[in-house]
Each structure stands twice: as structure tokens, then as C-alpha cells.
């Protein structure tokens, strides 16, 4: 019996594991080995340069800046997205009051659920075009145009949202949170719906308000889902390439003057514009390590006893 089961299960695993190795593990291994070379990206000629690329990275001001921006995104995007979507999910599912002791969402919750999910339907390319129009720096921009129409904007000196070093990263964070909140609201909603209603009813009977219900009942029971969401969002913040590269200035984005630079944008500029592909691979390796560390740390730190119900 055992002898037959082994090849049977292995048979199922050959294809997925093979694909995974070919499309994920193999490129990683290649990137790691290129990171020790001076590869230009344009041919098969390169020399082994040892750890030089990594030493250069440590002294590269732009790279350090990019790391700091990634760190900022890493803190802000998951925190804001999760808080916002938790709030929405709670209001849409159990935030309502009224009815004969029933637990339900606020009025019109079905409508909100659809509206909030809209951004998720749009691809990032469309998002970028949309927000390009929103943030446009002259009077044709949606924000500037609206501000000027109500007499708040300065016509001769409009806010150049994406060309302002103090604003550009916040503009990006806003788009990421706006685009992500809907999806995580649905994720949290699904999780909330699997919490038995009698727990809520019991809490209501004991006189718990919305606030207490949320922190004493909902949050602890959702912990695992939030943990997963955090890891996803953290990985998203480590990348953020498509959005930043389409919205901001410089080749592959990151402008003005590196003020929205993240590792991925600087990596691409080195890989393609500067023909420093070996150096870019070293950045890729650093990015991989950081993403791994962040995921592991998040999962470890947030580990709690599982509550069964």
C-alpha cells in the first residue's frame, strides 16, 4: 500500500513543483549569481567581481534613500489599509443597530460593499492613468481644478502634487490604500461572517457597544486573517513599482530628484538605463532578503494562540 501511494502523490507534485522551480526558484538563483558579476545586461560577457556590488550598494546614497522610502511604505500602507478596511468591514457586517436583536450591517451595506470593491476591479495601469488626471499639476488636474473652482487654489502657483518632494510619497500611499481597502474589506467581511452570530448576540445582551464588540469580539477572532493581509500588503509595499514608475518623473519613476525612489524603480534604472545589470541584480537580492525577513518577522511577532469556535 505504501509503496504505491508514494509515486501516486509524487505524480501530482511533479508538474506544480517543476513549474515553481523553473519559473521562481531558477530565476532567483540566476539573479543571485549575476549579483556577483559586472554583467551589462546586453550580452553573455561578464566578469566575477565578488562582493563589490554589495559594497557599492552600502555606499550608494540613492539606494539608502530608496530603502528608507520602502520602509515608510512598509509601515504606512499595511497599517492604513487594514485599519480602514476593518472599519468598513465591521460597519458593513455588524455595525448596524436596530432590528429585533439581530446583528446586521449599517443601512445600505450591500451597496457600500459593491462600491468599495470597485477599485479592485481596475488594473494598476488604469489606476495610474486615473490618478495622473487627479494629481495633474496645472489647473486641468482634478484636485487643483476643483480647488480653484471653489476659490481655494492659487491659480498662478498651483500645487504640483507629484512634483513636490514633500507630497509625492503621500500621494502614492493614498493611491495604494484607496486601491487596496476594498479588497481587504471583502476579505475581512468573509471572515466576520464565519464568526457565529450567537457570540455577538451574547455580547449585545451583556450591553456591549460597537466599540467593545469590535475590540473584544471581532478583532481577536479575525487575527489570523489580519496577519495574512499584513504579509500581502507588506510584500506589495516592498514593490510598488508599476504605480510609482507610471506616476512620477525620471526614467522608471522615483522622481522628483529621487524623492519617491524605491528599490524597484532604482533597480530598473540601473538594469536598463545605466546598463549596470549586475549591480541591479544585487539590489534584487537585497529586496528578496528584506521581503523574506519582513514576512517571517510579521508572522512570528503576531503569533497568538488560536481561538477555536
Amino acid at each position: 500500500m505504501h509503496r504505491k501511494k508514494y509515486p501516486f502523490i509524487a505524480g501530482f507534485l511533479v508538474l506544480p513543483v517543476g513549474l515553481y522551480v523553473l519559473l521562481v526558484i531558477w530565476p532567483y538563483l540566476q539573479t543571485i549569481s549575476y549579483s556577483f558579476t559586472d554583467w551589462s545586461g546586453a550580452s553573455q560577457n561578464f566578469n566575477f567581481v565578488g562582493l563589490d556590488n554589495y559594497k557599492d550598494l552600502a555606499n550608494d546614497d540613492v539606494f539608502i534613500k530608496a530603502l528608507q522610502h520602502n520602509a515608510l511604505l512598509l509601515v504606512l500602507v499595511p497599517t492604513l489599509t487594514i485599519l480602514l478596511s476593518l472599519f468598513f468591514a465591521f460597519m458593513v457586517n455588524v455595525g448596524g443597530r436596530g432590528g429585533a436583536g439581530g446583528v446586521s450591517g449599517v443601512k445600505g451595506s450591500a451597496f457600500y460593499r459593491v462600491i468599495f470593491f470597485f477599485p479592485q476591479v481596475l488594473s494598476i495601469a488604469i489606476l495610474a492613468i486615473l490618478f495622473k488626471a487627479v494629481y495633474r499639476g496645472d489647473d486641468s488636474g482634478l484636485i487643483n481644478g476643483t480647488l480653484q473652482a471653489v476659490g481655494l487654489g492659487d491659480k498662478s502657483n498651483p500645487t504640483e502634487w507629484l512634483n513636490d518632494p514633500d507630497l509625492v510619497l503621500w500621494c502614492i500611499v493614498f493611491v495604494m490604500v484607496w486601491a487596496g481597502a476594498g479588497f481587504y474589506m471583502v476579505l475581512f467581511s468573509a471572515a466576520m461572517q464565519s464568526i457565529p452570530k450567537d457570540i455577538y448576540e451574547a455580547a449585545l445582551l451583556d450591553g456591549a457597544g460597537r466599540f467593545q464588540t469590535f475590540f473584544r469580539v471581532t478583532l481577536p477572532l479575525l487575527w489570523e486573517t489580519i496577519q495574512t493581509a499584513w504579509v500581502f500588503l507588506a510584500i506589495l509595499s516592498m514593490d510598488a513599482f508599476l504605480l510609482i514608475s507610471t506616476l512620477t518623473s525620471q526614467d522608471f519613476g522615483g522622481g522628483p530628484d529621487h524623492s519617491s525612489e524605491v528599490i524597484s524603480t532604482y533597480l530598473m534604472r540601473n538594469f536598463q538605463t545605466y546598463s549596470k545589470s549586475g549591480y541591479a541584480c544585487a539590489m534584487g537580492v537585497v529586496m528578496l532578503l528584506l521581503t523574506l525577513i519582513v514576512s517571517i518577522v510579521t508572522l512570528r511577532l503576531s503569533r497568538r494562540d488560536r481561538i477555536e469556535f
Binding site: Y6, I25, S40, A42, D138, D139, P158, T225
Partner: protein, 482 residues
């Protein structure tokens, strides 16, 4: 959510558990992968002699020995000039030599071609241009460029008694020479400077400015009438650098141009021409003469607003009119203007930046190198130049006499060509640093972006540019221009 499948009561099977199996399978994968030979596959693998196209005996009419019915693969940068002209060339090539010509018109040149160069499977002809072009310098170092000297020595199609090298405008060969050999055919004869609408000028009674101060006066007058003085394509400081660099060149003469290209210790800081020029440019910013919001606009956005008479001047090259063809009102009267002068300038008012633009290359690893060379030769003919003038409304490096008289160029490009004609050949200039030193170019562009947004002073701009020059000089001890 919340239920735990592991404890649901399903009996654990003995023997090889699920997890062990996964572990073993994964371990197997990890061991087997490195043995496949590191770095020999995928990203930089492949190459070798793929089946090259056949050639026939070389003759005077067929100097590269192109055989009939070979396929040709042409890759065109689809930017300001579009790619309709290339389709005309390709149709003509197909007609003459049979086979099929594959056409790609793209903007992201590096993204599409880097993997193909790596694999040793590049197209036969590449128009390597745009902000995502592959650096010619790198391609040359890697041995990817066919020596085009044989093209220079080939007979011209229209007059076989002349060689190709004799019909090209001056500077074209120098521009395409890397390491002493001619490797890239810069096909378009371009010029750079400021542009304005003559209709707007007539309406407000402005005269064409000869000095920087006259230009500032027009901008101030425009501002009082609610029009921006200068629009620029802020998201790409490349365009504003046309104004800054040309003003430096005209103020300081060829010495100032060479100082920057040669990575001189006094290219910016300690160079009076650079100092005066950047102060003059900053006056536009300081006096609020920029079109509001222009610092953050895409090139097409800024140019379209300029077409809507929201600004007087805009910097660009000779492709501007073609790029804006759809947005330009019929009575706009687009007009070219070489940069006005600061007092005591070394160059004259008519001096301007000209150069061959849009490099066409034949990759050395291409399948059909002979076909690629012949394609370039046919571009440098009356038929080729006429098709380009017709579809892109611009001139090629073999000049206007090769364009059929029936082709009417657009009015704006005619003013640019008149300005070029008015400038003696030895007073035309061009910068090379942006092509030679990619990182220096980016550093200067970033500094310009900051200056235009009033976040740094002219003094700081000079310091930043000088620091970038010094950094580049450290990496390249032997500078290229002697």
C-alpha cells in the same frame, strides 16, 4: 475561518507523511537545479550561430549580396516621428527583394530588445531611440554592432558614381562613430531650440526677440495678459536642458560645450558662461514667468497647452510639429527660434544646436545582416528620404535635395530648416555628454527639475552638476572628445 482541519478526526496516514513528501520533493528540485549549469541557460543563454540568411555574389547594384526571398526583421522606435515612414520603406523592400518584412513599432526599446540581444536573436534593423533606448555605448562594447563602414563605401542608389559617405550631411559620420568605426546611422537631421506661435505674436504685437532681455519682456507682457511665458515638459527635464545647455553654449562658445563633454574640472563651477546662463534661466522661474503647473506636466500635456495658447514659448526639437499634428490649430503658425543671446555672447544669434538623431543599427548577430545593410542603403535614397519627409514631415541626413518636390513639408518644420540654413555649418553645435554618460545626464536633469521648481538656487545647480561631472570623470579617466 476559524475551524482547524487538522483536528477534525481524519486518521493520520502512516508511512510517508504529507510534509515529508513535500520536503523531499523540494530538496530534489534544489539539488537538480544547479547541476543544469549555472548561468548557461535562460537570461543570458542561447546564442551561437542561428541559421544565417543566404547571400549571393556582391555586385554594384547589390553591394551586400542580398539574396531574394529572405525575411527581414525591422524594429522601429515609435516616438515623435511615428512609424508610418518605416512601413513605406518595408513595403518597398519587400517589393524589391521578396520575402516578408516583419515590422515592430514600439516605445520601450530596451524592454523589448534587451532579452533578444542577450539571447543572440536581435532584429536585423533597429531604430534605437527614445528615453528607453539601449545605450549604443554598451552595445558597442559588447560587440553587438555591425561595422557600417561598408555602407559608407557602397554606391548611392540614385547615383552609383557617388558613395553613400559623400551624400550625407557633415557630422553624421562623426556622430555614429564608436571606437574609430562607423557603427550607427543617425538618420534624422534634427535641430533643437524654442518654438512659438506666430499668430499669438501678431495678435499681441510682439517682435521676434534677439536678446534674452527682449524675450523676458515678451514673457512679462504675456503674464500680464494671463498667458504663461514659458511652458516646458516638466516631467522630463530633458527639454528644459535644451534651453539651459544651448544658452551655455551660445554664451561661452564651443569651449563651453567641450568643457562639459570633456568632463572638465571647470565645466560648470568656475565657468562664467555656465554661471551667467543659469542665472538668466532662473530669472524666468523667479519672476513667475513659467506657465503655472508646467513643472509637473507630461511632454504631450505641456505641448498641448502651448497649442492652446496658454504659453508663449516651449523648448523642443524638430519633431515637435509632427508630434503635435493633431493638437495644433490650423492657423497656429508654429515657428522655430534659436535661443536669444545674453550680452557679450561668444556665438552669434543664428547659432543653433543641430545634429543627426535617431540611430539605426544593424546588430552583428542578426540573421540577415546583408538585408539590414541594404535596408539602410535604401533609406539613404531619394525614395527613402521622400517617404520619410512625407510621413514624418522631417528631413534625413542626406538633405532636402533628395526629397521629391511634390512633398510639401509642414510650415513649422520649414521655419526650422530656414533657421538651419541661415547658420553656417561651422557655427552649428551639439552636445555629446548625454549619449556618452547616462548617469551624468540623469544627474543634470534632476538638478534642472529642482531648479525649475525653485527648490535649489542657481549656485546649487552649478555645484550639483559639477559634482556629477567630477564623479563621471573619476569613472572615465580617459575622456572621449579630444
Amino acid at each position: 475561518m476559524g475551524s482547524t482541519p487538522g483536528t477534525s478526526g481524519r486518521p493520520e496516514t502512516s508511512g510517508v507523511g504529507r510534509r515529508d513528501l513535500i520536503k523531499r520533493a523540494a530538496a530534489l528540485g534544489i539539488i537538480s537545479v544547479p547541476t543544469m549549469g549555472f548561468l548557461s541557460a535562460c537570461a543570458s543563454g542561447g546564442g551561437g550561430d542561428n541559421d544565417k540568411a543566404k547571400t549571393v555574389k556582391k555586385t554594384k547594384n547589390n553591394p551586400f549580396g542580398v539574396a531574394k526571398d529572405n525575411d527581414l526583421d525591422v524594429f522601429i522606435f515609435k516616438g515623435g516621428y511615428g512609424d508610418a515612414y518605416a512601413k513605406a520603406w518595408e513595403a518597398s523592400f519587400e517589393k524589391k527583394y521578396g520575402g516578408s518584412v516583419a515590422h515592430s513599432g514600439e516605445q520601450d526599446v530596451t524592454g523589448k530588445l534587451q532579452p533578444r540581444f542577450n539571447k543572440g536573436n536581435p532584429p536585423d534593423v533597429v531604430d534605437d531611440s527614445g528615453s528607453k533606448k539601449m545605450k549604443l555605448d554598451t552595445l558597442h562594447k559588447e560587440g553587438h554592432l555591425t561595422d557600417l563602414t561598408q555602407l559608407l563605401d557602397a554606391p548611392s542608389i540614385d547615383d552609383p558614381s557617388k558613395k553613400i559617405r559623400d551624400i550625407m550631411l557633415p557630422g553624421t559620420i562623426e556622430q555614429g562613430t564608436f571606437g574609430g568605426k562607423f557603427h550607427a546611422l543617425f538618420y534624422v537631421y534634427a535641430t533643437w531650440g524654442l518654438w512659438y506661435s506666430n499668430k499669438l505674436f501678431k495678435k499681441h504685437g510682439w517682435k521676434v526677440p534677439k536678446t534674452w532681455d527682449e524675450m523676458l519682456d515678451i514673457m512679462k507682457d504675456a503674464k500680464s495678459k494671463g498667458i504663461g511665458g514659458l511652458a516646458h515638459q516638466g516631467k522630463y527635464p530633458y527639454y528644459m536642458n535644451i534651453v539651459i545647455m544651448d544658452l551655455i553654449a551660445k554664451t561661452g562658445g564651443m569651449d563651453a560645450v567641450k568643457a562639459i563633454d570633456n568632463l572638465d574640472k571647470k565645466a560648470f563651477v568656475g565657468n562664467p558662461a555656465a554661471e551667467r546662463a543659469i542665472e538668466a534661466v532662473y530669472e524666468i522661474v523667479e519672476k513667475g514667468l513659467l506657465m503655472p503647473g508646467t513643472n509637473s506636466l507630461e511632454h504631450t500635456e505641456a505641448q498641448t497647452k502651448w497649442n492652446e495658447y496658454k504659453a508663449v514659448f516651449i523648448p523642443s526639437g524638430s519633431w515637435l510639429e509632427n508630434e503635435q499634428a493633431k493638437q495644433t490649430p490650423d492657423d497656429f503658425e508654429m515657428t522655430f527660434l534659436p535661443l536669444p543671446l545674453l550680452p557679450d555672447s561668444k556665438m552669434k544669434l543664428h547659432a543653433l544646436r543641430t545634429g543627426a538623431d535617431e540611430p539605426f543599427i544593424v546588430p552583428s548577430k542578426a540573421k540577415n545582416v546583408a538585408g539590414g545593410l541594404e535596408f539602410l542603403r535604401r533609406m539613404l535614397s531619394k525614395e527613402g528620404a521622400t517617404a520619410f519627409a512625407k510621413e514624418a514631415s522631417s528631413l534625413s541626413v542626406i538633405g532636402p535635395e533628395y526629397v521629391d518636390k511634390s512633398v510639401q513639408l509642414r510650415p513649422g518644420i520649414k521655419t526650422a530648416l530656414a533657421a538651419v540654413d541661415a547658420c553656417p555649418v561651422d557655427e552649428r553645435f551639439n552636445f555629446r555628454y548625454s549619449e556618452w554618460y547616462g548617469e551624468l545626464d540623469v544627474a543634470i536633469q534632476n538638478a534642472t527639475g529642482e531648479l525649475m521648481a525653485k527648490r535649489i538656487t542657481p549656485k546649487k545647480w552649478l555645484e550639483r552638476c559639477q559634482a556629477a561631472v567630477d564623479k563621471e570623470a573619476e569613472k572615465n579617466p580617459d575622456t572621449k572628445r579630444k
